[in-house]
Amino acid sequence: MTTYARQTGRTVTLPASLDEAVAALEAMPAAVPVAGGTDLMAAVNSGLLRPAGLVGLGRISEIRGWQYADGNALLGAGLTHARMGRPDFAALIPALAAAARAAGPPQIRNAGTLGGNIVTAAPTGDALPVLAALEATVVLAGPEGSREVPVSHLLTGMDPLRPGELLAFVRAPLLHAPQTFLKATGRTGPGRAAASVALVLDPARRGVRIAVGAVAPMPLRPLEAEAWVAGLIDWDGARTLDPEACTAFGEYVAMSCIPDPPDPAEGELPPAVLHLRRTVAALSRRALGRALS
């Protein structure tokens, strides 16, 4: 006799369309949707997660590409990092392409998807600050039809995924202006971000938007710093800024994201946190400088 039961209860469905996937999830609420599996399968393999069933999203061709809709790009949740890193995509949303290229070694980028990055919502997720800076929204498909939620609402838990819902698309604006994504890691090879910044220029709205990743559970937007620096830029002219202004912007961003303790009696921040703040300042300054050069 053996207790080794060959996963009899486990079901794997491979729907070919979003509707089928939603139906499969509705039919088996305990099933877990899986796309690239770069986070999920690591948890399964180490025994941390034993899903009752899996809904594989790999065969849903409608979410593996992108399309255009009223000045926005509608990105499929199944877009891999490798696909987003290619030059044609980089011409569309440069910061997202840069984040995708920095997301890990080739094996991970070939499998890992945009939707997976959002749903996993790791603080170090590389696409997240870019989506926050773009003010992207996500399209969620569920049994009651689809609904659209700002990505920040999803990440902060203000409006989480409901049971039976799948992340289908990401709606990101096409801004036709420079964008940068910069990431600081502990090593030269692929690594998790110690801090990352995504900065986009929005000439139509005369705005600069920046999001800082990895320093908090979700990307942070220093709105006051954005407004301050947007007011300094001559949007109709050369769109340049003094290096001093870039430095001041960097420090503004860093102080907003990693503020001093409210009570000075608590003493100074530990050296590692002060270094993180300096890193955020340097990255923000560099990001703005590169976007304006």
């Binding site: 030269t188 300096r278 340097a282 990255l283």
Partner: protein
């Protein structure tokens, strides 16, 4: 080309005392034999993925084991209830401390202070408490989790400085060893005094394959253990003692070793396996998860090092004072050896008339420390080289020049009073790296080609990047020290046109099997040589560490091969009335000096099988006495490394551009392997310098995974440029060859730290270098 005459080509340095100078010397450019870059025997199988590692083992009807490990670094076990686990369907046995039939403690190097299973107290996070055998790995893990343990959590001692005053963590006390070293005049003072505090983090050996093993019960009541052991005989003796069996009823068979930087955690692994196999009567297999591997195996000793260097106005060292504190973790393991190396090499490869060192290895509740190559020597190298940089800065001297004024040479004494009798070409090594051309600075137009610190898609900005050049010199001992009996035995057999080597030296990836083939090819002229797998039915060869097997096992193989050679040639020589020395063997043919006689080895054998067994035992050593004095080491190896780094001084990110290595190798027995060992060692050293630190706040390892523990990737590995391999033969070593693997690991971290100091002007006293320590203020635009 080859022949007795060619022996005169041997460099005169290999003096008459050389006991093991091969007669057929000079076959240097043939495609086999010593000095040729024979490809590794296991290379093809490993590349194809068919090489059998321990985790690939299978036996019919096997059970799977799982080990219950402590979640606390320090706790008293109030109760242990295995009833629920034993009652689970599919569980065949649950064993705890109470089930160990023999010795309940074990340890390496004769300090048996480590329990097989913790019973009253757990002393580190991950200490084994019980083990389960079940018919499925998941069942075994679930059952292990179902063992009810009631703990009284005790405050952990995690600061080694507090271990002295803390309550004893173990009946043996918290001080594992103290070595005071007194050499010279304690009142000597120099014109210039520099002080420094250095810290070294906890490096994990992170073997590519986690620990795994299989135990098979035998008909006679004994057990066979299939383990990726690096010291099968010691593991067999431990298993026999703990399982209360005679040593001939325990057999350790060495399986493919998936990476070993020192001792693999085999005793702690083999014992539960053996116990479960005996208890259940079934084969039992255990494959550690990566998490268990990080928790269980031995790490590099974290160290706290305080130094005071005295020098005269010219930069010549007058006195070195040091206090060295090694964190041994909960059990002694090999800490005593690591401490001896740290104390003896505390001043580095420099001539220092007065040296005063206090060294301690103390017990804490941190993860266990043990043998990781370059142990002791690596930690102090990062400190004494930091001191040399400080002295150079104080005197306004070039760091290489300051070192050059102090280098040691053959005949100089070590602070232990031992005279360095082996070649010690430290000055030549330093000169070689100093004079090597520097890598070019990237020009403005190839900026895209320039891999900046922070990576390909990183945030590096050329304007913030500073280049730094740093030097480090270091030394390490070869073979066991302080009176260890460093002996190895090997058997060589010839039949027909092929030879077989039987030796229990474990191939851990260091290339011993390839070397053994080369030796036999060289001595017997037989092309087809097989090296049998190691097990404990063979005579002991000792652990695979510190270049031992190149020296003692290689020496034993050579002696055995030479005995076979004499047996083979004696009848021929007698028949033709000439002495054996006038006959030579090459390419399977035996020829006389005048070419009159020519026959093949197979013909000369005439169907006979020739066997010979020989031992190699280097000259004995002695333990360090109460003043840290004594001839403790058999041989020493040296290296000089120049590191070139790029530092982003705003982010503190570092990329090592190039490591220029000059190493004292004695003789290159296989140039391709020598280069590979150096590249591997340098890369491991760069990992130690920049990223590898297994953090265990309050004794608990936070992220025991390869995601949490950063190792160098291909993009982090620097260009390793071997600028010089000095082949000054060590007359007491077989073939004159020195160990090559450990010394690059010892020196590289110090070289990288030195280069980061040069780039940033910051002191850099801690390894790995944290980004905040490599941040500097830009000097001008």
């Amino acid at each position: 080309m080859t022949g007795p005459d060619a022996a005169t080509a041997t460099p005169s340095l290999a003096g008459p005392a050389a006991p093991a100078d091969p007669p057929a010397e000079g076959a240097e450019d043939s495609r086999h034999g010593l000095g040729s870059s024979l490809p590794r025997t296991d290379a093809e199988a490993k590349t194809k993925g068919v090489f059998p590692y321990a985790a690939d083992l299978w036996a019919e009807g096997l059970l799977w084991a799982a080990v219950l490990r402590s979640p606390h670094p320090h706790a008293r076990i109030l109760s242990l209830d295995t009833a629920a686990a034993a009652a689970m369907p599919g569980v065949h046995a649950v064993v705890t401390h109470a089930d160990v039939p023999g010795e309940t403690t074990h340890g390496r190097r004769s300090t048996a202070d480590r329990p097989v299973f913790a019973h009253d107290v757990v002393r580190f996070h991950g200490e084994p408490i019980a083990a389960v055998a079940a018919d499925h790995p998941d069942t075994a893990r679930l059952a292990a989790a179902a063992i009810a343990v009631e703990y009284e959590v005790l405050p952990p001692v995690t600061d080694p400085e507090k271990a002295f005053s803390a309550d004893p963590l173990h009946p043996d006390g918290n001080l594992i060893r103290h070595i005071p070293l007194r050499h010279g005049d304690p009142d000597a003072v120099g014109d210039i005094v520099v002080e420094g505090l250095y810290r070294v983090g906890r490096q994990d050996p992170a073997p590519v394959g986690a620990e795994a093993g299989l135990a098979v019960p035998r008909q006679d009541g004994g057990v066979e253990l299939y383990l990726a052991s690096t010291d099968p005989h010691a593991d067999r003796d431990t298993a026999a003692a703990c399982l209360a069996l005679e040593t001939d009823r325990v057999k350790v068979v060495v399986t493919g070793v998936p990476g070993a930087m020192g001792d693999r955690e085999d005793a702690g692994f083999g014992l539960p396996l053996g116990l479960l196999a005996l208890r259940t009567g079934c084969p039992v297999k255990l494959v550690a998860t990566r998490e268990e591997s990080f928790l269980g195996h031995a790490h590099r000793h974290p160290a706290l090092l305080r130094y005071r260097h005295h020098a005269d106005g010219e930069g010549r060292l007058v006195k070195v004072e040091a206090q060295l504190l090694l964190d041994a973790g909960a059990y002694a393991d090999t800490s005593s050896d690591a401490l001896a190396a740290a104390v003896a090499f505390a001043a580095g490869p420099y001539v220092v008339p007065n040296v005063f060192v206090e060294g301690w290895a103390v017990r804490t509740n941190n993860p266990p420390s043990g043998h990781v190559r370059g142990e002791g020597a690596m930690q102090v190298c990062s400190a004494y080289e930091g001191q040399m940089d400080k002295l150079a800065a104080r005197l306004g001297l070039d760091p290489a020049e300051l070192r050059m004024r102090n280098v040691m040479a053959t005949g100089d004494p070590l602070p232990t009073g031992q005279t360095v009798t082996c070649p010690a070409p430290v000055g030549e090594l330093l000169k070689a790296v100093r004079d090597a051309e520097l890598p070019p600075l990237p020009s403005a137009d190839d900026e895209e080609e320039w891999l900046l610190p922070g990576g390909l898609e990183g945030s590096g900005e050329p304007g913030a990047v500073r280049r730094g050049v740093g030097y480090a010199l270091g030394m390490v001992h070869m073979l066991g020290a302080e009176g260890h009996d460093e002996v190895s035995t090997a058997t060589v057999k010839v039949l027909g046109g092929s030879a077989t080597v039987i030796c229990a030296a474990v191939e851990t990836g260091q290339g011993f099997t390839t070397l053994a083939r080369q030796i036999v090819q060289e001595v017997l002229g037989v092309e087809d040589v097989t090296v049998s797998a190691a097990d404990t039915d063979q005579p002991p060869a000792g652990p695979s560490a510190r270049g031992r097997h190149t020296w003692v096992s290689g020496g034993a193989v050579e002696r055995a091969a030479k005995m076979v050679r004499t047996q083979l040639l004696q009848p021929l020589a007698a028949k033709f009335g000439m002495s054996v020395e006038l006959l030579s063997i090459a390419d399977g043919k035996i020829t006389s000096y005048d070419g009159v006689l020519s026959t093949t080895v197979a013909e000369a054998l005439d169907g006979k099988e020739l066997w010979a067994t020989a031992q190699c035992r280097p000259h004995p050593t002695e333990p360090l006495d109460e003043n840290g004095q004594g001839d403790a080491f058999v041989g020493l190896a040296f290296a000089a490394i120049r590191a070139v780094v790029d530092v982003d001084i705003e982010l503190g990110t570092v990329r090592v551009v190039e490591m220029a290595v000059a190493q004292d190798v004695g003789r290159q027995l296989n140039p391709a392997q020598v280069a590979a060992r150096i590249e591997a060692g340098v890369t491991q050293g760069v990992g130690m310098a920049l990223m590898e630190d297994l953090r265990a706040p309050r004794g608990v390892i936070k992220r025991p995974s390869l995601t949490g523990y950063a190792l160098p990737t291909a993009l982090d590995a620097p260009r390793v440029r071997i600028v010089a391999l000095l082949e000054e033969r060590d007359v007491v070593a077989p073939f004159g060859a020195k160990a090559v693997s450990a010394i690059p690991v010892v020196v590289s971290p110090a070289a990288v730290a030195s280069a980061v100091r040069a780039a940033t002007g910051r002191p850099v006293g801690r390894l790995p270098i944290r980004p905040q320590a490599a941040v500097a203020r830009p000097t001008g635009a």
